[in-house]
């Protein structure tokens, strides 16, 4: 098991390399200098050259890439073009907030979706089942920003109950966490229900009943343990979805986190920040996937970790 973990951790390095390569290539495929933004006050060529030299953008591209990699290994993600500060510092500012948002959403999602999925499966085709499946369908289909807009119009503008700009008090956190968590949770509910339905139809459930176990012992002790395995494995991709969800939610609710930062830096063509944040995201996702794979190996005795 340990060997597997180490091997996976090592595999992250080449993947990160590719991610950096791809992002770097794309970023530099865009025409023009990033400093052309302000067309009303065109900078003199001399100024542009000076800026380019300062940021090292005047060197040939492969050399830039190598320099970048070198810095990366030392933890230096470069300087933001638009903010004149180290990218690391900028990210550091936003990451706490985003983490709060993400963790809150995930906790919320897990707390309501898994029990709901289980109960829906057990009471299949009842009103409860249809109801929760309807909510789950809406949650997975309708874009999160649409739901957010609806909620804002009711609770923010209409009833003036909750603030919808910024971050700070718990009231600020309610709607963003709810919207982000709803999308996650809806998906998890569907998976949990499907998995549970599959589990209770298995032969070993019949065997458990034939031993005289009470229904609850059969469901919890036998079916549930099997049903939750696929659900646990979804948490990896779910985390990835949280990340992309955070872009939208943070932008919408003006939450000063990494997601909003990322969107702004994309619009402003702030390549160092774009690259740094992308690499961070890629790393987080790979860790999440690795955690899920390990979890899977622990939960399911049939998986012999190679």
């Amino acid at each position: 098991m340990l060997r597997y973990v180490v091997r996976r951790l090592l595999l992250i390095i080449p993947t990160m390399f590719f991610v950096a390569l791809i992002t770097f290539t794309l970023a530099h495929a865009a025409p023009g200098s990033p400093f052309d933004r302000n067309v009303n006050r065109p900078l003199s060529q001399e100024t542009i050259d000076r800026i380019n030299r300062y940021y090292g953008v005047d060197k040939p591209i492969p050399e830039q890439f190598v320099t970048y990699l070198g810095n990366l290994v030392r933890g230096d993600l470069g300087l933001s073009f638009t903010r004149q500060r180290p990218v690391v510092e900028i990210i550091g500012q936003g990451i706490g907030t985003t983490f709060q948002l993400g963790a809150g959403a995930l906790a919320f999602a897990l707390a309501f979706s898994i029990p709901l999925g289980i109960i829906s499966a057990l009471k299949q085709n009842t009103l409860l089942d249809y109801g929760s499946m309807l909510v789950a369908t809406i949650g997975t289909t309708i874009p999160s920003f649409v739901i957010a807009i609806f909620l804002i119009s009711i609770f923010g503008v209409g009833l003036h109950l909750l603030p919808f700009v910024g971050w700070g008090s718990w009231q600020h956190m309610v709607m963003p966490i709810f919207v982000l968590g709803l999308g996650e949770g809806a998906f998890l509910t569907r998976i949990t229900r499907a998995s549970m339905l599959e589990a209770i139809r298995q032969d070993y459930v019949r065997t458990a009943r034939s031993k005289g176990l009470r229904e609850r012992a059969v469901i919890v002790g036998h079916a549930l343990k099997n049903a939750l395995i696929p659900v646990a494995t979804i948490i990896g991709p779910a985390t990835a979805a949280l990340i992309t969800g955070s872009f939208i939610i943070e932008t919408l609710f003006n939450v000063p986190g990494m997601g909003r930062l990322y969107v702004i830096s994309i619009l402003q063509r702030d390549y160092p920040t774009i690259m740094g944040t992308t690499l961070l995201y890629a790393f987080l996702i790979m860790i999440a996937n690795l955690t899920v794979d390990i979890l899977y190996g622990v939960l399911d005795p049939r998986i012999k970790v190679r």
């Binding site: 032969d203 070993y204 019949r206 065997t207 005289g212 343990k225 939960l299 005795p301 049939r302």
Partner: protein
Amino acid sequence: MAQQLLEVKDLHTQFFTRDGVVRAVDGVSFEVAAGETLGLVGESGCGKSVTALSLMRLIPVPPGKIVKGSIMFDGADVLKMDDDEVRGIRGNNIAMIFQDPMTSLNPVLTISRQISEALELHLKMDKSEARKRTIELLDLVGIPSAKKRVDDYPHQFSGGMRQRVMIAMALSCNPKLILADEPTTALDVTIQAQILDLLKNLAREFRTAFILITHDLGVVAGMTQRIHVMYGGKIVEKADTAELFANPKMPYTWGLLRSIPRLDEHRKAKLVPIEGLPPDLIAPPPGCRFEPRCQYRRDICREKEPELVHIPNSKPDHEARCWGTQQGGWLVDTDWHKEVGDTRVLEEIKQEVAQLPPEPKPGDLPPPPPAI
């Protein structure tokens, strides 16, 4: 006559589906004495498994339902018990061994846990007692190095070993009756023999009654004292084992026996299969259920259903459900080895079968899409 361990009277179990009501078990009555092994034989879909599941009330209640009858086990009617009482019997006084050991054991629980469950529940053992007993049971059923393997998972055992585990699980609380539903069908032939031997020895040693359910006449031959043949949801013949093989009195049984290859037959003798398909249990025909496939049929067979009654020229306990072999019937003196019935009727049957709509070919089935 001493009270039987199990007395089933007029059991009717049905399934309510979108296409109609399936009469899976349509009036079945039989008894099993303490320590006796009864064989329940028939082809797929004849209702034998459903009968067994009904005995333990394991029929899923929608869509199934036991609509009529009584099941007297040890003097009490299982069908009238409340849920707690039934659960008290399951695994404890009556236990079941299922067909596919691969899917019937929970893949994420150790076999120690799976066997101990019943012990802790019914015999109120604590964890260490249950564990000790589990190891004993595994030894008993022939699992080598039981002490080391008790914490293994089902996937770490071979098919035959898994079935032994299931047998150990069934035996754990010393039940008076064990229902074995096709216990060897999913196993290799050589393993089959071992498992059957094991069951026979256990039956003798613990004086457990068995109901052995199978479609394979070869399996019941060496194992049972009596055999009941089922067809179309009903019992069509009852006899002592030796009597059934020596002197069968129902055309379906003749068909079954004819389709078994025998070592002592002429090399060129043909295997005679039974033409046709099993009957529709939603709208069964008004007459004898086997009639569409029977080479010996006559008009009365299509009109009226025969009763299960004693047959002339046979032992006193021997009953069959056939107009032809009953008192006064046209098959009473027939030597079934030689007479294969009216060949015109045989041709008729073949033509009828040819006109049936085709069954879906294996290539038609698309694989199921991933479920989200």
